[in-house]
Each structure stands twice: as C-alpha cells, then as structure tokens.
C-alpha cells in the first residue's frame, strides 16, 4: 500500500495536469469561437489593440535593439576564433528573425500583457464585475476574452516583425560603428541571406505566442481565487504558464519549420 503511494500521487498529479490542459484548451476554443461570432465589441477591440500592440512597442523596441547589438558583438568575438568575423550580418539576421525576435517579443508580451490582462480580469472577478457583466446580458468571454485574444493574434506578429527589424538594426549599428563593417555590404548580406520561410516562421511564431499570452491572461484571470491573494496568484500563474508555453511552442514550431 505505502509502496504504491508515491505512484498514486504521481497519477493524481498527472490527472490534475491533464484536466488543466483540457480546461485551457476548451477555454481557448471558446475564446476563438466568441471572436468570430457576433455581437462584436469594437470599442473593446480597439482598446485591446492599443494596449497589446501600440503600447508594447517601446518595450519591444528596446529589447530588440539591445539584443541585436549584443548578438553582433558576440558573433564577432566568437567568429574571430576561427576567422569567421564576416558572418555577423547573416547570423544576426537569422538569429533575430528565426529565434530571438519571436521569443523575446513573446516573453515581453507575457510579462507586460499577460500579467495586465490576468490582474485586470482577476480584479474584475473578485469585485463581482464579471457577475455584473452577466446580469447585464453581456458574455464575459465575448466582452473580455475575445477582444484581447483577437488583438494579440493581430498585433503580436506585427510586434515580432518590428522587433526583427529593430534587432537587425541594433546589430547593424554596432557592426558599422564599432566593428568596422561596411554599411551597404552589411545590409546586402542581411537581405540576401534571409529566406521567405524565415520571415513566415517568425510571424507564425508571433501569432502563436500572442494567442498563448492572451489566453493565459484571460484564463487565469477568470479562474482567480478570492481577494488580493487570489489576484496575485492568478497574475503570477498566468505569466509563468505563458512564458513556459511560449518557450515550449517555440521549440515545437522551430522543429516544424526547420528540421529537415
């Protein structure tokens, strides 16, 4: 009996985890379903586009420019060990567009957007604003979740695109200013080296990470416990879940796009 106890605990933990996966999946499907069925709330969608997309630009830009710059320095230093300093433009481009652009933007969105969505919706839940929505004949999934998920699906790929460009620009600035690269040659190498699949993978990853970030924020917010502690737990849980799922999804998508 006691020898089997750890096995029982493991089994229960797996079942709890699977139940969570099922609930999150159903929640995501419900949010997507509400997104395409009327009524629509244009004001809420506009507000979400502003908050998820436009207001995330500064943090995305700063993250990308520093990362691009650091990447150029590292590749130059690493490449120098085997006389391959010249590959800086190509590796910065491929590194930013395929991996670092989407992942860093995804993580920044998890930090900035997932947390704010979870905290806002959780606070609405504990102050009975979600119940109030229902009594006012307004579906919380449609009014709160659908606009945020839609906004993330639209804007996060765009933010990833912007992050890619700014990251490459960061690498370019460092390479041209500090490492003595020819500006025109750097740009030509970058453009020639990138393939359409690189860009497509970047944008698809952006959409997937946006979906994860928004759904996790909404899910944890709507399932928040009571009181300030409940809001705190929901916020923390949402960011943890979004960050881990973004990294896991990135691994899977990289495999799908680039494992030959």
């Amino acid at each position: 009996m006691s020898a089997l106890a750890p096995l029982g605990r493991l089994g229960r933990a797996v079942l709890v985890a699977l139940a969570h996966v099922g609930r999150v999946t159903l929640f995501a499907l419900s949010a997507l379903g509400h997104m395409v069925r009327p009524p629509f709330y244009p004001r809420e969608i506009g507000h979400a586009l502003m908050n998820v997309g436009w207001l995330s630009l500064p943090v995305v830009g700063l993250t990308a420019i520093f990362t691009g710059g650091a990447l150029a320095l590292q590749i130059y230093a690493g490449g120098a060990r085997f006389n391959a300093e010249a590959v800086v433009p190509q590796i910065v481009a491929i590194g930013m567009v395929r991996e670092l652009g989407p992942v860093l933007v995804g993580l920044m969105i998890a930090a900035r957007v997932t947390s704010s969505i979870a905290a806002e919706i959780a606070t609405m839940k504990v102050t009975e604003q979600i119940d109030a929505l229902v009594t006012l004949s307004t579906h919380p999934m449609k009014y709160l979740a659908a606009p945020r998920v839609l906004a993330a699906l639209i804007t996060v790929p765009l933010l990833v695109g912007v992050g890619d460009v700014i990251g490459i620009a960061g690498g370019y600035a460092v390479a041209v200013q500090n490492l003595g690269f020819n500006p025109a040659a750097y740009l030509k190498n970058t453009v020639d080296f990138l393939e359409p699949l690189d860009l497509i993978s970047s944008l698809v990853k952006g959409a997937a990470f946006g979906l994860i970030a928004a759904v996790m924020g909404c899910y944890f917010g709507m399932n928040s416990g009571r009181g300030a502690q409940g809001v705190g737990r929901a916020t923390k849980g949402s960011v943890e879940a979004a960050a881990v799922l973004i990294l896991a999804a990135n691994f899977i998508l990289t495999g799908v796009f680039f494992s030959v």
Partner: protein, 264 residues
C-alpha cells in the same frame, strides 16, 4: 378547513424556489430552500454571514448552478435558456451588487447606460447618455458625476451609481445584495429610502439580501430568514417581531445567546 381560492395567473409568484440545494465541496450551503416571492412585492432575505443568501440569489440569476431543486421566474424554469433567450431572461433583471461592481474602465454614465449601449436594448449614444443622466438624477446624483470614473466616487456615490445602473433598463425584477453594507447610517437610510421609492414607483418585484435590520424594516413587504441552508421563517414584515421563532428573535435583536451559534 376550506381551500383558499384559486390564485389565478396574476397572483402567481414572480420567483419560486423549490428544494434548491447547493454544496461547495463538503460545505452544504443550501439544503433545500423553498421560497415564493409574489409579483410586485419586496422580499428581504436575512441571515448571518455565510448562510448562503448570496448563493441563493446567484442561483436565481444562473450565475451559480444549483445541485438540485427547481427555480421558476414568472412560471418559467430558469437555467435552461441559452444565447438570445438567456439574454432576454437576464434583461428582466436589475442587480445592485454589494460593492457596486461598477466597471472601473468606464465613466459613470457608461456604467449606468451599459445595457443601453450594446446588445438587444442598444440605443443611440446621445439617448443612452440622456437616460443615464436621468437615472443618476433619480438616485440623487448631479449630472456632473456622469463623466467621472467610479474610482473617483465615494462609497455612497458608488452605491447610488450601482442603483442607477440596476434600474436603467426598467427591469421587472431587482436584486439588492447588501445595499447598505459599508455605508454610514445616514447614507444607509438614504439608500433604503431610494430602494423603497424606486421599487414602488416601478412596480418591480424586489429581492434584497441583508443583515441590516433597519434596512429590513425600511424595504421589506415580506421577510425570509435563511439559516443552516433552509428558510427558517418567512412572513410579512409586520409579523416579524411576534413570530415566536427563537432563531428569528435572536437575529433581529442581535443577541449573542440563543439557538444560533455566534461562532461560525
């Protein structure tokens, strides 16, 4: 004993609960609640904290699904409606939440006119704003507050805005969840008076949950006491003082000694 005359459809209760049960894990909150609220009357449910008053109210609205029992509103069983039918069902209700539950991202007038700005009852924005300002006036607030945000208002003002929102779409049934909690006695009196006036002038059926006995005497036509998951006593407010029910007596006189244990 003679049978009472057939009440006919008009005097049938607006809200009827039969054997409603609800548990949260091992905690049995409602253990078979039977209650009828006549059309156009004001029913006040009293009971200690944690006795399931809010749960009963949320069961009627479908915010919580009961484990067993039957709930009827105007003769129709609730809980089965979906989509537009459920929207229409909810459109018959107005609710004042305990903490106001105002949407803090929206200015006061958009809170009040929430139902009039979207969905089936949608009106042009100017008209919705006009109605919101009229309702704000009705609850004693000047039009100046219309463009403020809920966080800029005092507790009493938030309650009034909540009340204005509850009555904005002229509902047939209004729920008040602890309408005077957290207010000073004078403001509580003002809110009680407003509730009574509004319920009478709209001819609405009202259900209030509270543990404020001043509120009970100001608002109620009928009183029901919820204790230990069942309706312990129900009757007209005038008969509350001579009910002879030890539970009700202890509650309305606020005695520490009695059949209800003070520590819950």
């Amino acid at each position: 004993m003679t049978l009472p005359p057939d009440p006919g459809p008009d005097t049938a209760p607006m809200i009827r609960l039969e054997g409603v049960r609800k548990s949260f894990g091992p905690k049995h909150v409602l253990r078979g609640v039977d209650l009828a609220i006549p059309r156009g009357s004001s029913m006040v449910i009293i009971g200690g904290s944690g006795t399931g008053k809010s749960v009963a109210l949320k069961c009627i609205l479908g915010l919580i699904t009961p484990d067993a029992g039957r709930i009827e509103v105007d003769g129709q069983e609730t809980g089965t409606a979906r989509g537009a039918e459920r929207d229409a069902f909810l459109a018959r209700f107005g609710m004042l939440f305990q903490g106001g539950a105002l949407f803090d991202s929206l200015p006061v007038w958009q809170n009040v006119a929430f139902r009039l700005l979207r969905g089936a009852l949608k009106r042009p924005q100017a008209e919705a704003r006009e109605i919101a300002i009229k309702k704000l006036r009705r609850v004693g607030l000047s039009p100046d507050v219309a463009d403020l945000f809920p966080a800029e208002l005092s507790g009493g003002m938030q309650k009034r805005v909540g009340l204005a929102r509850a009555i904005a779409a002229e509902p047939e049934i209004i729920f008040f969840d602890e309408p005077t909690t957290g207010l000073d006695p004078i403001m509580a009196g003002v809110i009680n008076e407003l509730i009574r006036e509004i319920v009478v002038e709209m001819g609405a059926t009202a259900m209030t949950i509270t543990h404020d006995m001043t509120s009970v005497r100001a608002i109620a036509d009928d009183v029901a006491m919820l204790h230990d998951g069942v309706i312990q006593w129900t009757g007209p407010v005038a008969k509350m003082d001579e009910s002879g029910d030890p539970y009700l007596d202890q509650f309305i006189h606020g005695r520490a000694e009695g059949p209800i244990e003070a520590v819950r």
